[in-house]
Every structure is written in structure tokens, then in C-alpha cells.
Amino acid sequence: MRYAAAMGDPLSPVMERLVLFIVIATFLTALLFFALTLYKGIKHLREDRKKAKFQAALENVLFHYLFEEKSLEEVLGDPIFRAMKRDVLFQRVAIKAIISLHDNYSGIYSKKLEQFFEVSGLVNYSIARLESSKWPFIVEGVRDLSTLNHDASYSRIASRITHPHELVKMEVLLALIKMRGIGEITKFQKTGLLLNDWVQSNILYTVKKHKIAAPANLGIMLSSPNKTVVLLGVRLIRYYQVAEHDETLSGLISETADAKLKREISEVLAKNTLVN
């Protein structure tokens, strides 16, 4: 802007004040964003420190509960735990920690963690999220409650099936599959949820991770007018290595014009032939 040097003198008084105002405004804005950056940085650091403190306390409580045969009442009665429990950040960190342990343990330990989630009252945090009007909170609530198998929340979760946001619908679908099995997918027929490859990979991931048993009526999916449902059916047949649908699949391969579906069916048939 050095080239704006000899700006027309006729506009001097107005121009001068205007430019001066803009200079001061940009300077103050720069200063404001610098201050905001530092504020955010300090806030993040404090939050991280607080999280680390909560994490350590939680590890201690959960360790005693899981491996040292301390009763739930004993660990929940711990004054430090009771004081921390009121903090929302603590509740978030606690649920995350429980889910993380739940992912790594099975059998009695995972049951104990589910019980801890419920009896400690942390479940109320997740239910409040589920009942929120903001979709990201609903997703969080659905995920936490379903991952920790909170069966009492099943109908509450299922009621969110008609939510307008696609991510909520997908999360509800995954939650219902986790809680009741793959047959729940039929409930989504009229929700308009698009079963694209991304949604399907999430379904398959849920099925594999939670070891969801193969439904008896897997073949129904193959007769759906919706090609994405058929594709999911084929992928599930491949995962479960079910050979009883080979005849239907052979029929489908000659009927369909969908190259992707054809390819996936032929891969399943080839695999099943090899297995048999």
C-alpha cells in the first residue's frame, strides 16, 4: 500500500479519520485474537492438567473395584471420588475411561464396568445427553449408553430413530445393532437413512467388534428393492461365511446390472466355493 502514498488531498479530513479508525480497528482486532489465542491455550492446558488429575483418580478407583475386590459401595463412597463426581469434565473423562477399559476387557470385568457406569450415576450424564436438543450430544449419549450396554435406555435410543440428522440416525442404527442384533436394521426402512459404503463399514465394524451373531433371516436383505441393503446383505453373508444363500446370490448376479454388487457377489461365491 506504499503506492497509496499521495492519496488525493481534497478528501483529507474525512479520509484521514477513516483510515486512522481502520488502522486502530485492525490493531485492536489483532490484539484481541492474540489475547484469545493465549486464553484458549491457557484453558486447554488447565483442562489437560485437570483431565490428567481425574484420570489418575479414576484409574485408582477402577483398579480397586475391578481387581482388588472392593465393593462398588466402597469405591463410590470414596470422598475424593464423590467430590470430583460433581464436575462435568470428570463425568466425561470417567465415561471415556470406562469405555476404554470396556473395549479391552470382557466377561466379568466388562459387566462390572457396566454396573459401575449405572450405579455411580454416570449414566445420568449420558441420558441427559441423549435427551438433549443438540445432535452432537445425542450422538454422544447414544454411543455411550449402547457401548456400555445400558439396556434400560434401549427404547429411549430407539425413539431417536426419526431424528432429522443423518449422523444421529446412523448412531442409533449402530446402537440398536449392538443392543439387539443385526435384525434391527429393518426398523430403518422408512427413515431414509442412506446405507452408503461408509455407513456399511460402520455396521460391519460394529458386528465384528461386538461379535454380533448372524441373524436367522439374513436372506430377507437379499430380496430388498434397495440395492444398498442387498449389498449389505452380501457383505454380511461374506463375513458370516453363510453358504445357504449361494443359490439366491447366483440368481442375483445374473439379474443385477450393478457392477459393484456383481463383483461383491462373485467374490462371496468364489470364497464359499473354496471353503466348501
Binding site: 500500500m1 506504499r2 503506492y3 497509496a4 502514498a5 499521495a6 492519496m7 488525493g8 488531498d9 479520509m15 484521514e16 483510515v19 486512522l20 481502520i22 488502522v23 485492525t26 490493531f27 482486532t29 489483532a30 485474537f33 492474540f34 484469545l36 489465542t37 493465549l38 484458549k40 491455550g41 491457557i42 486447554h44 492446558l45 452432537p136 450422538v139 454422544e140 454411543r143 449422523l167 448412531e171 442412506l194 452408503n196 459404503d197 461408509w198 456399511q200 463399514s201 460402520n202 460391519l204 465394524y205 460394529t206 458386528v207 465384528k208 457383505r235 461374506r238 459393484k260 463383483r263 461383491e264
Partner: protein
């Protein structure tokens, strides 16, 4: 003023034209920043709960070839390739193209990865320099690796060779010396799985500066502000460009560039377009523009996606001489691409690309340094003639300075409010401090480097210029 009527009128007209240009540039920055901020917020909210690992559950996830051209990289190539082989993804292979290196890259690779000649037949769908051999590893642990040894033909030629060798439908073209996030392919592939209606022809992501960061076994462990001042200033520059610029262009569907350091492409479209142009030094930008033109001219619905997560970390030049070479090359690349696709300028057939993106690049990326230099020269002449109103001069100078600082501060704030990669307050302070220096010591230099790029283009310089890198081993300490 001078008292000479016509000269005074000329000076006033000139001043207002320049003022208009500067105001338009600044306004465009502010608008783009606002769009970016909004888009980034939406993106982060949408992606807060995404479980990228879910993609690993799908056997038919997009099959990808990572193409890594290498030229004289013997010292670091083994670590870099190992890092590429450790990426979280199922359906991918790594194609390292040794572009006629003068060092012992091939010997080093052969020894480290137990390479043996492959029976793969080279099918040059795009003409390239001669391929001497294609290797595969005899060790099952490296079964994803393919190494191609070819005669030197430049980066674009090496990428085209990799494209010819690949048997997968998607390509990720990368710089072998970049540090990739382990989830890079999961994040780049996700949009292809969600596509409905429009075909995704490319996805690109954010490149960040890795100087002084802690890197262990090819993995970024801790992000730090660079110790070197020049590299640190480039952090601010990259934050502005990627966070406040490209995000907005992506939202407007007007993205004209996907960084050469890494981007994912639909191979079929890239091949139909003829692959990378070997005659330009801006092959990354040129390919995207050509692919987009191709889709529009063939009336095929398409889109280009941008992933704002920092996925690729690169080493920035720490010396002015290397930086100058890089920036003059970037300018030559811009000139070549804009010239090749000049038909798009204000052509409504190309929608936002022709009416907004192309003019933006032409006026604010290509012309801006020339206009700035012209302004400096004319200011000097006016100063000599004694016709400068010094009050205004300093007011405008302060305005431009504070605007640049403000913009950098907004970029820094956006980074801290979103990805929070810089963990310490000291790093944030360091970066804020260089934001104060950038308009004084860095920007004028980049203007001169861009002018030099213009000069080199005029005089027929076609080289890349040597890009010496320190490597990531030293700063890891």
C-alpha cells in the same frame, strides 16, 4: 501535488486504482477467512464422533496406491518407506519410483527390503522415460511394496510412471520425505465412501511444517514451533493458507490446487486427462485444474474434497536461498498453469472456477507481487518528486502492516481453537511474535522471489532448483 493538471489527475487515478486493488485483496481474505471459519466449525462438529477404524472393517474399502517419487534420497529412504508401510489401512500398496537417482538409492532399498525383480509388465498408458526394472519384496512383511527403477525424468514423470504401474483405482501422490499421519488414508478415503451423485475426483489435505518437531520411527510424536526463524514464519504462512484459504475454496467448490506433497486422485480420471504434465514445474496445480476442466467439458458431475486435518508434515526451507528457489518455482508453476488454462478466465462455462477461482489466482496470486513491486517503485519516484503526503503514507503503511498481523493472529487463533497442535504457551508466543515480523522480513522476500519466478519464466529457466533438506533426524534429538 505537482500543480501540473494532467499529472495530478494521473496520480489520483493511479492511487485510487491501487487502493481498489488492495481493498479487494483484503476483502477477499476476510470473506475467505469467514467462510473457512464456518466450514471448519461444521467439519469438526460432524467429525467429532467419526470412528475412522470402521473403514478397516470393509474388505472392499477403496484400493489405493501410494506413489512416492524419490530422487537421491538414499540417506533417509528406508525409514521413510517403512513409515509409509506402517500406515493404518488394508487395501493399499506403496510404489516407490526411483527417478534415476545418482546415489545408491536402489541398492539401499534392495538390501533393506529384500527386493527381487517382479514379473509385472510395465504398461505405459501415459508415456514416460524408460523403466529399467520393477521390484517386489521377497519378504512377506513388505508385500505391499513395489519399487520402480527408471531413467530420470522429473517428479511429474515419476508420478506418471507410478500411475502406470498401479493396479488400484485410487492414487495418493506424496513426497517421500514427508511425515504422514498414520490415519492419512482412512481420512482421505472416507469421502469416496460417502459419495452419492457426484464423483469425487480428488481429495487433498493440510500440509504443516515439521521443522523442530519430534519424530520417532517415521512418526510425528510432538509438534513444536520451529527453532529456525524462517521456518517459524512459514508455519504462520501455512496456517493462513490452509486454514483460512483452501478450506473456503473447498466450501465454494473452487479449489484449484491440491498440494503436491500429498493428495488422493481417481486414477481413471487422471489417466483420461493424460496424467501429470511433465512440462510444468507446477504439476500438482495443473493436474487438478485439468481434471476439473475435463469433468466440466464432459458434463460429468464431480467434486474435489478437502480434509482440513493436518495429515502431512513437511520440512520447510531454513535458508533464504532455498526458499527463493522454492518460491520462484511456485510462481513459474502458477504462470504455466494459468497460461495453459487461460480459456477459463471469466468463462461462465467453468462456473465458479472460471468466474472466481481463476481470476483470484490471476490477480491476487500472479499479479499481486508485480503490482506490489510497481507500487514500491512509483512510491520511490513520488518521494523523489516530493509529491508524497507522508501522513497518508504512514497511515496506510500501518494499516497494511496491522492487517497482515491481524490475519496471522486469526489463523493462529483458529489453529488453537481447532486442532491445538502446539501444546505449549511458549510455542504460541513464538508464533505470535513472528506474525509481527512476517510483513517486514518475509513478505517482501516472497514478493521478490515471485518476481524472480516471472523473470526465470521469461528467460526460459525450466529447472526445479536444488532443494537441499536437513532431514528429520537432527531435530528429533
Amino acid at each position: 501535488m505537482t500543480g501540473i493538471g494532467i499529472l495530478d489527475t494521473g496520480i489520483i487515478v493511479f492511487n485510487y486504482l491501487i487502493l481498489l486493488f488492495a481493498a479487494t485483496v483484503m476483502l477477499s481474505y476476510v470473506i475467505l477467512a469467514a467462510i473457512s471459519g464456518f466450514s471448519l466449525k461444521t467439519y469438526l462438529r460432524q467429525n467429532r464422533f467419526v470412528n475412522y477404524k470402521a473403514l478397516l472393517a470393509l474388505d472392499s474399502a477403496p484400493k489405493v496406491s501410494l506413489i512416492a517419487p524419490a530422487y537421491n534420497e538414499a540417506k533417509t529412504i528406508v525409514e521413510n518407506v517403512k513409515s509409509l508401510l506402517a500406515i493404518n489401512y488394508n487395501n493399499y500398496d506403496v510404489i516407490v519410483v526411483n527417478d534415476g537417482s545418482k546415489d545408491n538409492s536402489i541398492d539401499v532399498l534392495t538390501e533393506a527390503f529384500s527386493l527381487v525383480p517382479s514379473d509385472k509388465v510395465y504398461n505405459p498408458q501415459i508415456p514416460t522415460k524408460e523403466v529399467k526394472a520393477i521390484y517386489r519384496s521377497s519378504n512377506k512383511a513388505f508385500s505391499r511394496l513395489i519399487v520402480v527403477d527408471k531413467l530420470n525424468g522429473g517428479k511429474a514423470d515419476a508420478l506418471n510412471t507410478g500411475m502406470n504401474v498401479s493396479s488400484n483405482p485410487y492414487l495418493v501422490c506424496i513426497d517421500v520425505d514427508c511425515i504422514m499421519d498414520k490415519d492419512v488414508l482412512l481420512k482421505l478415503a472416507k469421502p469416496y465412501m460417502e459419495a452419492s451423485g457426484k464423483r469425487i475426483i480428488a481429495t487433498g489435505g493440510v500440509v504443516r511444517i515439521a521443522n523442530s518437531c519430534i519424530i520417532k520411527s517415521g512418526k510425528l510424536v510432538e509438534v513444536r514451533a520451529p527453532g529456525n526463524l524462517l521456518a517459524r514464519i512459514q508455519v504462520i504462512e501455512y496456517l493462513r493458507a490452509f486454514i483460512l484459504g483452501r478450506m473456503a475454496w473447498s466450501k465454494l467448490d473452487g479449489l484449484l490446487i491440491i498440494s503436491g506433497a500429498f493428495g488422493m486422485f481417481d486414477k481413471e480420471i487422471a489417466l483420461r486427462c493424460g496424467g501429470y504434465d511433465t512440462k510444468t514445474v507446477g504439476e500438482d496445480m495443473e493436474l487438478i485444474v485439468r481434471m476439473r476442466r475435463f469433468m466440466i467439458e464432459h458434463k460429468e458431475p464431480y467434486t474435489v474434497q478437502y480434509i482440513p486435518d493436518p495429515l502431512c508434515w513437511t520440512e520447510a526451507p531454513e535458508s533464504y536461498s532455498i526458499l527463493r528457489k522454492q518460491r520462484s518455482r511456485w510462481m513459474r508453476g502458477t504462470i504455466e498453469t494459468l497460461y495453459t488454462h487461460r480459456k477459463m478466465l471469466f468463462n461462465p462455462k467453468y462456473n465458479i472456477l472460471g468466474m472466481l477461482s481463476y481470476p483470484y489466482w490471476l490477480f491476487f496470486e500472479y499479479y499481486a507481487p508485480i503490482i506490489e513491486l510497481t507500487g514500491i517503485v512509483i512510491t520511490l519516484i513520488m518521494a523523489l518528486l516530493g509529491v508524497i503526503s507522508w501522513g497518508y503514507f504512514f497511515l496506510f503503511l500501518f494499516f497494511v502492516y496491522f492487517f497482515a498481523v491481524m490475519f496471522s493472529m486469526i489463523a493462529l487463533y483458529t489453529e488453537e481453537a481447532t486442532f491445538k497442535k502446539y501444546q505449549s504457551l511458549a510455542d504460541l508466543r513464538k508464533l505470535a511474535f513472528v506474525a509481527l515480523l512476517e510483513p517486514i522480513i518475509f513478505h517482501p522476500f516472497t514478493v521478490l522471489a515471485a518476481i524472480r519466478g516471472n523473470w526465470e519464466k521469461l528467460t526460459g529457466n525450466k529447472g526445479w532448483g536444488e532443494m537441499t533438506r536437513k532431514g528429520f533426524e537432527k531435530p528429533t534429538g
